[in-house]
C-alpha cells in the first residue's frame, strides 16, 4: 500500500535527465538527505560531462555492528557485483562520506530497457550498500549452504546509532528489530500498530508470510547483546524468514523490506496521525454546524455559518449582536 520504493526518486530523475542530455555539458552539484540519515551528494563537472560522481554517507554505526573500511560487511563485493563495468569506487571517498562512486555514463547499455534497469539499480545504491550484510545471510539461506556464522548474532545498522539483529539458524533466519520512537504519542501509536500487524498476520490470506511476533521485553535470542543496544520503547518485533521467502527474485524485495522496516512503521505512524487529524477536523466542523443549527432564528438569519468577518455585518446587525 504505502511501501517505500527502493530507488531514490530524485537520484533516478537526475540520472535519467543526465543520460538523455549527455552531449549537453552542465555543472551539477547537489546534496540531499534521506530517511535513516543517509546523505547523498552528486557532482558533474563541465570538464567531464560523461562522468558523474555519487557519494553516499551512511548513518553512524553503533558499537555492536561490524564495519570494514567505513562500509558494512559485504558491501564492497555487492557494489562490484551490481554495477559491473560502469562504476569505479574511489578510494579514499569524498570527505565526510563513506563511499564515492564514479559513474561513466557513456558506458551504459544502449538498449532502453536494460539501461532503465541499470539506472534504477544505481538509484537504489542505498539498498545495495546498507542491505549487503543481510543479503549475504539471506542468500546463504536460499542456497541452503551452511552459513559460516551459524547461530551467531549479526548486528546491522539501519538508523543513526541503532541497529537490528539477525540470527542465522539452520533452515531459517530470525530478524529482530528493537523499535524506538522519539515522541511519546508516536510510541503509543507504533505499539498498537505493531500489535495490529501481528494480528493481521494471523488472517487466512497471509498463511505464507513470514512468522512475526511482538514483545515488550527483549526476546531470548538477544540475551548476549549489551543492554544499551536494547533500550527500545515500542517493544521488539521478530520476523522468521524461511527459504521460501528468499527464492530467486524475492530476495531483493525481502532485503529492502526488512532493512527499511523501521522507516515503514514510522511512515505509517505519521500517516495515521494525519488521518486522525482530518477526522477530528471533520468532527469539529459537524459539531459547529450542530451548534449553529441550535441558535435561535434571529441570529441564524445573519448567516453565522457563512460570515467569516465583521464586514459582512451591517452596523445595525452588529449592535443587536453585541446587546444580545
Amino acid at each position: 500500500m504505502i511501501l517505500l520504493q527502493s530507488s531514490s526518486k530524485f537520484l533516478l530523475q537526475t540520472l535519467l535527465n543526465r543520460v538523455n542530455n549527455l552531449e549537453k555539458a552542465v555543472e551539477l552539484d547537489y546534496q540531499w538527505v534521506e530517511f535513516g540519515d543517509v546523505r547523498y551528494h552528486i557532482q558533474v563537472t563541465m570538464k567531464n560531462p560523461q562522468y558523474l560522481s555519487l557519494s553516499v554517507s551512511l548513518p553512524i554505526p553503533p558499537p555492536e555492528t561490524i564495519f570494514y573500511g567505513g562500509l558494512p560487511v559485504g558491501a564492497l563485493e555487492a557494489i562490484k557485483a551490481a554495477y559491473i563495468g560502469i562504476v569505479q569506487i574511489l578510494d579514499p571517498p569524498r570527505d565526510g562520506f563513506n563511499l564515492t562512486l564514479k559513474l561513466n555514463l557513456s558506458k551504459l547499455p544502449a538498449q532502453d530497457e536494460q539501461r532503465q534497469v541499470l539506472l534504477v539499480k544505481i538509484a537504489s545504491v542505498r539498498e545495495v550498500v546498507l542491505g549487503a550484510p543481510l543479503a549475504v545471510v539471506l542468500r546463504s539461506l536460499s542456497s541452503k549452504t551452511v552459513s559460516p556464522n551459524l547461530n551467531q548474532l549479526v548486528a546491522i545498522v539501519h538508523r543513526p546509532k541503532e541497529s537490528f539483529f539477525v540470527l542465522p539458524q539452520a533452515e531459517k533466519v530470525t530478524v529482530i528489530f528493537p523499535m524506538r520512537f522519539k515522541d511519546s504519542i508516536d510510541t503509543i501509536l507504533a505499539t498498537s500498530f505493531l500489535q495490529e500487524l501481528i494480528e493481521a498476520r494471523r488472517s487466512a490470506g497471509l498463511q505464507n508470510a513470514p512468522l512475526c511476533s511482538w514483545s515488550l521485553s527483549p526476546p531470548p535470542e538477544l540475551k548476549e547483546v549489551p543492554a544499551e543496544a536494547l533500550s527500545a520503547n515500542a517493544g521488539f518485533v521478530t520476523f522468521v524468514i524461511y527459504p521460501r521467502h528468499v527464492e530467486g527474485k524475492k530476495l531483493e524485495k525481502t532485503v529492502w523490506s526488512l532493512s527499511t522496516f523501521h522507516a515503514y512503521a514510522s511512515y505509517h505512524v505519521k500517516c495515521s496521525e494525519g488521518f486522525m487529524h482530518s477526522r477530528m477536523r471533520r468532527r469539529v466542523d459537524s459539531l459547529i454546524q450542530a451548534l449553529d443549527r441550535a441558535k435561535p432564528d434571529s441570529e441564524a438569519s445573519m448567516g453565522t455559518g457563512q460570515s467569516k468577518s465583521f464586514k459582512g455585518l451591517s452596523l445595525k446587525d452588529s449592535r443587536t449582536n453585541s446587546s444580545s
Binding site: I2, W32, G274
Partner: protein, 428 residues
C-alpha cells in the same frame, strides 16, 4: 544543539500552480510538481447503511480512501486515465483552501518525493503576504503534531524572492516584488525585510490569462486545433514562442512585411484520431504578454496596466522608502520569464516617473532642482523559482535555526507562536 541542525533544512514553497520542494543549500529545488491531489472517492460513496455488519466494511473503505491518493503529475495522469479519482486543488489564490488535501500533499512530498524523515529536519514553508495568522497556526499545528518536525519557519514569499538576489548582488532587503504566478499576481513592497502590508496591490491578470488569451486569438483566427487540446497547446506556445514587444503597431508592421521571418509553425497530433495537424503562430507571440501592459485588450473590467500598478504601489508606500523601492523592482514567478518582460516593465515605469518629475519641475520653475529617480527592474535567471531559491539561501545560514519555532516552544506555548515569524537580523 541537536543533530537536526547539522542536516540541511527542507524548503517547500507551495504555490497555487506548482509546488517547489528541496533541501536548503542547493541551487535548484529537487522537485517541481503541480499542487494537486487526486483522491479516490469511490470508496466513500458505496453503501451508507448504518448496519452493524457493514461497519467493518465501511471502516476499511475509509482506510482505503485515506491511502489511495496521488499528488503532482501522477495525480493528473491518474485523473485522466480513470474516472474514480477526483482532482482537488488545496491552494486557491495563494491561500490554503482544503486542509485535508494540503496535509496529504505534504505527506507525499515528504515521504514519497523527498523521502526524508520529518523528525530529522527543520522546515521552511512559505505563504503569501495576505495569509491570515490563523492559517499559519493551522500550518504549525499540522507540522508539529502530524509530522513532529523539530523546527518550523513560515516565510513570506516576496521577502524570499528579494533574498534570492542575495548571491547575485549585494543583499538588499528593500524592494518591490512583482510576482506573476499561475494563479495570482501581486505587487508587494518590502522595506528592510518587512512587508508594507497596507501598500500591497494585486493585479487581476495572471499567467493563466495569458494562456487563455492566446487560445482565444488562435481560435478566432480559425486555426485547426482540437478543442480538447487547445489550452495545453496555447500554454506550450506561450512558453516557447512568446515575447514582450516595445510597440504593438511597429510589431504588426514587422509581421506584415516579413511574415516568413516571424510567423512560426506548430506541429501536433490530435489526441483522439492520431492525425497530425499544423497551425500558424502569428501575432499572439507578442499579443499574449501584452495584456499586462494593455489589459483592456483582454478583459473589460481592468484598464490599469501593470506598470501603473507598480507605480501606485510605490507611491502609497512611506515616503522615505520610495527611492529605494524604485531602485529595486524584483521579478518572481514563471510568467515573468517571458522574453524582455523586465525591459518593458522598466521602460514603462520610468516613463511614468519621468512624466511626474517633469510636471514637478514645470510647477516649481527653475529654482527647485529635482534629483532624478533611478528605476531598476532586476531580473535573474532563477526567476521561475526565485521564492524557493531565496528560501534555500536563507535556510542555509546559521541564523535560520535560531529564528525557527522549535517543537519545545510549540509544546510550551501552543500553536499561537506560529502567528509571527521573526525577520532575520543577521542577513544584512
Amino acid at each position: 544543539m541537536d543533530a537536526a541542525t547539522s542536516r540541511p533544512a527542507v524548503v517547500i514553497d507551495n504555490g497555487t500552480g506548482y509546488s517547489k520542494m528541496g533541501f536548503a543549500g542547493n541551487i535548484e529545488p529537487s522537485f517541481i510538481a503541480p499542487t494537486v491531489v487526486a483522491v479516490n472517492e469511490s470508496f466513500l460513496n458505496q453503501g451508507r447503511t448504518p448496519s452493524k455488519a457493514n461497519w467493518q466494511a465501511q471502516h476499511s473503505a475509509g482506510v482505503m480512501a485515506d491511502l489511495d491518493f496521488y499528488i503532482g503529475d501522477e495525480a493528473v495522469a491518474k485523473s485522466r486515465s480513470s474516472s474514480s479519482y477526483n482532482l482537488s486543488y488545496p491552494i486557491r489564490h495563494g491561500q490554503v483552501d482544503n486542509w485535508d488535501a494540503m496535509e496529504r500533499f505534504w505527506q507525499q512530498c515528504i515521504f514519497e518525493y523527498l523521502r526524508c524523515d520529518p523528525e530529522d529536519h527543520y522546515f521552511l514553508l512559505t505563504e503569501s503576504p495576505m495569509t491570515a495568522p490563523e492559517s499559519r497556526e493551522y500550518t504549525g499545528e499540522i507540522m508539529f503534531e502530524t509530522f513532529n518536525v523539530p523546527g518550523l519557519y513560515i516565510a513570506v514569499q516576496p521577502v524570499l524572492a528579494l533574498a534570492a538576489g542575495y548571491t547575485t548582488s549585494k543583499c538588499e532587503m528593500t524592494g518591490v516584488v512583482v510576482d506573476v504566478g499561475d494563479g495570482a499576481t501581486s505587487v508587494v513592497p518590502v522595506a528592510e525585510g518587512y512587508v508594507i502590508g497596507s501598500s500591497i496591490k494585486s493585479f487581476p491578470l495572471t499567467g493563466t490569462d495569458v494562456t487563455h488569451f492566446i487560445e482565444q486569438l488562435i481560435r478566432e483566427r480559425g486555426e485547426h486545433i482540437p478543442s480538447e487540446d487547445s489550452f495545453e497547446v496555447a500554454r506550450k506556445i506561450k512558453e516557447t514562442y512568446c515575447y514582450t514587444c516595445s510597440d504593438i503597431v511597429k510589431e504588426y508592421n514587422k509581421y506584415d512585411q516579413e511574415p516568413a521571418k516571424y510567423i512560426k509553425q506548430w506541429k501536433g497530433i490530435k489526441p483522439k484520431t492520431r492525425a497530425p495537424y499544423t497551425c500558424d503562430i502569428g501575432y499572439e507571440r507578442f499579443m499574449g504578454p501584452e495584456i499586462f501592459f494593455n489589459p483592456e485588450i483582454y478583459s473589460g473590467d481592468t484598464s490599469t496596466p501593470l506598470p501603473s500598478v507598480v507605480d501606485k504601489c510605490i507611491q502609497s508606500a512611506p515616503i522615505d522608502t520610495r527611492r529605494a523601492l524604485y531602485k529595486n523592482v524584483v521579478l518572481s514567478g514563471g510568467s515573468t520569464m517571458l522574453k524582455d518582460f523586465n525591459r518593458r516593465l522598466q521602460r514603462d515605469i520610468k516613463k511614468i516617473v519621468d512624466e511626474r518629475m517633469q510636471a514637478t519641475t514645470a510647477r516649481h520653475g527653475e529654482e527647485l532642482k529635482v534629483q532624478p529617480v533611478e528605476v531598476n527592474v532586476v531580473s535573474h535567471p532563477i526567476q521561475r523559482y526565485a521564492v524557493w531559491f531565496g528560501g534555500s539561501v536563507l535556510a542555509s545560514t546559521p541564523e535560520f535555526f535560531a529564528a525557527c519555532h522549535t517543537k519545545a516552544d510549540y509544546e510550551e506555548y501552543g500553536s499561537t507562536i506560529c502567528r509571527t515569524n521573526p525577520v532575520f537580523k543577521g542577513m544584512y
